[in-house]
Each structure stands twice: as C-alpha cells, then as structure tokens.
Subunit: 336 residues, 2 copies
DNA sequence: TTGAAAGCGCTAACAG
DNA sequence: CTGTTAGCGCTTTCAA
C-alpha cells in the first residue's frame, strides 16, 4: 500500500492522479498553504490519497524549487572523544528542528583536510549556514571556505574576523564556583588552575578573584596553584593543598577534582569535612558518582549549540566585536 | 570573484557561459565522466571558469536529477549523555564519507515522537538507508516508519524482524576480560556483574565462564556478584569481594571498577598487588586516569558505526538471523 | 476554486 | 568532440 522498500517513492503526481486533482492542488493541501482556496471536498480526497499511498514529499525537490534549503551544517572537531561535542550537537539540533531545519553534521577530529571537505560538502548542499564548533573553548582561525556562507563559531572565537561567536562565560563560571564555597562559609579558598593557557584558565581565575573581592576577601596569589588538567594533576597537588591550610578548593575541572579526591583521601583528609571541593564542567560520569558527589559548575554546551543556531538564524543578537557569553550554572552536590 | 556571502550561488549555466561551452560539457568535466570525450582545450576553459567563479555544484539538484541520494541517516538515542554515541557517529561518518555519502544525524533522547519525526525527515530527504542506533546494547523494536527504507540496527537488535543488526560481541569480550586476569596468573577470579538483565549481562557472564573453562578452572557461582552498574555498585561490593578471597576481579564496566577502587582502598587493599581489577567499556575519562590506570576491554563503538554503514551499503555481509558481532579488544593498562 | 506551465540546477540520452 | 533536450519532484505565478 505505502512506499515500502521496493518500488520508487510515491510522488505528488501519483497522489494527484489518485485524487483526481492537479498536482498544484496537492502541493497546496500538503503544505497547507494559506492563500490557497481548496474545496473541502477536494482537500479531503487529496488527504486520503496521501495516506493511502504513503506519500512522503521529496524534501530535496522542494528545496530546489523553493530556493531555500533547510540544512544547517555543524562541523565539530571531536565528536568521538568527549561527551561535550555531543551536547553541542544535541542543543543545535533541537533548536534547528524547532525552526524547521535539519542538521548536517561532520566530524573532523581536528584534521584540516577533513574540515575542508566537510565545509565543501555543506556548501554543495546549500546549507543555510554553518556552525563551526570546538570541544573546548579556544581561539581558532576560521577556515577560508567558511566565508562562502554565513557561519557562527561555537565554543571558540576568531579574533581576526568579526564573525559571530558563542562561548561559555568562563569568568562568571569561576565566580559561581567560588561562591559555592564562599556561601558555605569558607574564606580561605585555594584555586587549582590548569597549566595550559586558555580562556578557561584566565577567565576562571578572574571569576575567582571577582568572587573573593565580592566577599571582601583579599586575593592571595599563593593560594592559586597550577596543575595538569587531568586526574593526575589534581592528585599531585594534594599535599600542597593540605599545607596551604585552606578549607575549600576550587578545581579547574572535574577531572582535577577527581584526582584531588584520591590525593586528599590518601592524606587522611575527608571531603567535605576537612576540605570542601568544587569542580568545573559537570562531567556526569565523574561528578555525579564521586564519593561524595561533586559540587561543580556546568559548562553550557547544550545552550552553546542552541544559541549558535539562534544567532545563525538571526533569532538572537550576538554582540559585535565580542563573543556572546553563555552563563555557567552551579550544580551543587555533596562536596561542599 | 567567488560566490561569497552575498549573491546567489554560481550555477553550471553561468560556468558554461563563461567558458563558452554548453552546460552539458560543464557537467561532464566537473564530474570527470569517463564516457565523455571533451577536448583538452574546452576542458581547460571549463576548469578555469569553475575556479574563477568559485562554482560549487548543487548537490541537491544533482540528487534530484540522478535519482540517487547520497544521504545516510543515523538516528541515535543519546548523543548527549555518553561519549559512546559519539563514537558510533564518528565511525559511521568516516565510513560513509569514504563511499561518498553524507550523514544526516538525528538525536532522539529516547523520545518516541522525536524518533518518528527524525525518521520522517530522513525519508523525506530520500536517504539511501538508515542506521538506527542505541547507546547501549539492547533489544529494541524498530519503529514502523523504518520499514519504508533499508536500515540496519546498530548496537541493538530486534528479534521480531529479520533486519540486519550489528552489535558488540559481549561473550567474546567477557572472555577477553577474564583472560587478562588469567594470563597474569590469577585463578580465583570474581565477576561483578550488573543487576539489570541485558545482552551485556548474560554475554559477559558466558564469556567469563568460557575463559575459566578454557583455563581448566571450575566455575564457582559464589564468585559472581550482582551490583548496580555504576560507581556506587562497585563500591558497595568491596567488602564481599575481599571476603571471597579472590585475587582478581572482572567488573561489568569501568564505572563499577571505579567504585570498587574506592571501596578496596578503604579496606586497605591495593591494586593490583592485593587484588587485580579489570573493567569493561574503556571509558577514557575514567579508565585511563584511575590510580592505577584500569585494564579493560573496549566496546567497539567506532567499528559498530562503520560496520553499520558497510552492511547498509551491501559492502559487508551480515549473517541472517543473528546480528553481526564485532569483537571487543583488550586494553591492558596497570590494574592487573 | 482549480489547473497549466514555467522553472529550480543538474544529469543523461540522443543528435549532430 | 559537443550541444540539445527532456526530465527529476516540487513551487508558484497566472489563467481559467
């Protein structure tokens, strides 16, 4: 009955014949065109035929004919390696669908040729625009081909071009994280930052300072340590943390916090009684299941993706000159 | 010069005019058609015009005209929540690209309506076929709409239909994991299985028994425990594990192993000296950064995605009646 | 209220 | 060797 596996797909022409109307009429009722005045009688016959035959409009023909495609491209550099890219995709897709667009995603794993190919492919599919995203917040230089269409940078930015960009508000995030500790009464708080220069590194530090200042606490540079941004880094600074005599620690990310948990435990310290810990990123697998569950600050990847398409579609204004900063909400659990 | 932001995209017609040839000729040289005999002179003029104008063929028009689309749909149920789905996407995409196809991905987060909508969308874009994937190996019942095209199930299977499916070889994986312990000389090995019934639960257990048998060790049912498949589950069984007097433990997954690490440590036991531990899944964030790094077995998500498209395209045979089982390679680290 | 017809950009016979 | 032409499935004036 319907367009099963076998035969060619049903076309409008066939529906028109079955309903005994013209193909134009079918187009009108299928698309529920407003201007069109179709008799209820004819309309019903068309609807019946559509159901009967299992007609699926050909989106490609529609695009070709109407001139405007419903594709939005998303090139990501690390779909595979982190859950973060997944969140961006998810957010972008939900938002795109909401506005009748379909996501064309391409994974490049950082490979330049793949990136080039991905963008070409998207351009050939006449996408409405492209979201160029990275899995961690950083500066990039947009591939030249990108300029052939509209695009917005997601979780990255390019100082050389005035392209719109959407990034997490690292500074506010650092502030929020620190306040998680401050609000619990801690006043002597260490910050385990990362060794690698990045917007996250400087932004979160600035936020940490903002929060202290807001609480009337003097910034003490000896309280900020640098560590490799993984478990190993956190583990390695445990001793120094203890020696600092702090009661709270803000870690650059959840993985560092996880390592710190191990280190602190080996020193006989308990969390949060002896030392309170807060992370950053809200990486579920880790944060939600540490003992005790880690209080942290979420990186708004879903929102980045969603905001990216909104900006691309002109539904949301992006400040010119600077990226649109999306805020990082606190996720309190039990480590403070 | 090229089709920048502003104007309408360049078409073949314009290239033809610029090169002083017919539009058919342009088509031939652009597609490098074999049958076509184009004079080197004309061909060069076309190539020049293409470059000059920045011509990008319209993939949609091409599809419409040639009748065969180059889309492959991938519907995933949890892009956002795990890195696993990302790996499937990555594998599927690499393989698809290799054969000239483009991935149309849709995330459904398990929502039935979204699933329905996603499949419709793909059908309307006349995809060559659809990959229906889940983020963990399980039985599903394929949505009816899927039957309107060719499809293959990835990381899931449907006993009600003879549709091709690609899944991880849980049994062999369990075997491999156990042998990691066996090969290190352990003979009294516990298996912390999950409480939730699934192909993983029964398959890995079967593999565990296979391995023991292969080593001439009698299966002892008291050595297999059930635990919730997260950190908490592993943590909870630490005491019982110690009491069992085993020297090695195979955990149902890496998260359980992570919890067990904590539990064992609290009991004063060290890994791997007092007890060797192996996990399953090879979840990077965790496995690679535990102390000591966790020996585990990898779930072949990338391969699942890749094999899925191969089967879909008829490039690889899938056994009828049963899913194609992809093997799970060992990832030895330092916990054995 | 409906239908005829002219494209959208490209492919693929078929003529020259 | 290269150009003409008839579609692909659909949208959209413009007539009827």
């Amino acid at each position: 009955m319907s367009a099963d596996r076998a035969g060619q797909p049903i076309t409008m022409r066939q529906v028109a014949e079955a309903a005994g109307v013209s193909i134009a009429t079918v187009s009108y009722v299928v698309n529920d065109k407003k201007g069109a005045r179709i008799g209820p009688e004819a309309r019903q016959r068309v609807l019946d035929a559509v159901k009967e035959l299992g007609f699926r409009p050909n989106a490609l023909a529609k695009t070709l004919s109407s001139g405007s495609s419903n594709f939005i491209g998303l090139v990501a550099d690390a779909i595979a390696t982190t859950p973060f890219a997944g969140q961006i995709i998810h957010g972008a897709q939900d938002e795109a669908w909401k506005h009748g667009y379909v996501l064309l995603v391409a994974n490049t794993e950082g490979d330049l040729a793949a990136e080039e190919a991905a963008i070409s492919m998207m351009l050939e599919h006449k996408v409405r625009g492209i979201l160029y995203s990275t899995w961690y917040h950083r500066a990039v230089t947009a591939p030249p081909a990108l300029h052939e269409t509209e695009y917005v940078l997601v979780d990255c930015f390019d100082t050389a071009t005035p392209a719109p960009a959407v990034v997490p508000d690292e500074r506010e995030g650092g502030n929020v994280a620190t306040r998680l500790l401050l609000n619990a009464g801690h006043t002597r708080i260490a910050f385990v930052n990362t060794t690698t220069p990045s917007p996250a590194r400087s932004g979160r530090l600035a936020g940490y300072r903002d929060a202290l200042q807001g609480a009337g606490i003097a910034f003490d540079p000896t309280l900020v340590l640098d560590a490799a941004p993984e478990q190993e880094g956190g583990y390695a600074v445990a001793g120094r943390i203890r020696d600092l005599g702090v009661t709270g620690v803000f870690c650059h990310n959840d993985r560092v916090a996880m390592g710190l948990y191990d280190g602190l435990r080996e020193l006989g310290l308990t969390i949060p009684n002896d030392i309170a810990v807060v992370g950053f990123d809200n990486q579920e697998v880790i944060a939600a299941h540490l003992r005790p569950p880690l209080s942290t600050v979420a990186l708004p990847h879903y929102e980045l993706g969603a905001a990216g398409v909104r900006v691309l579609l002109g539904l949301q204004e992006a400040p010119t000159g600077a990226p649109l900063a999306i805020s990082c909400p606190p996720v309190p659990r039990a480590s403070v």
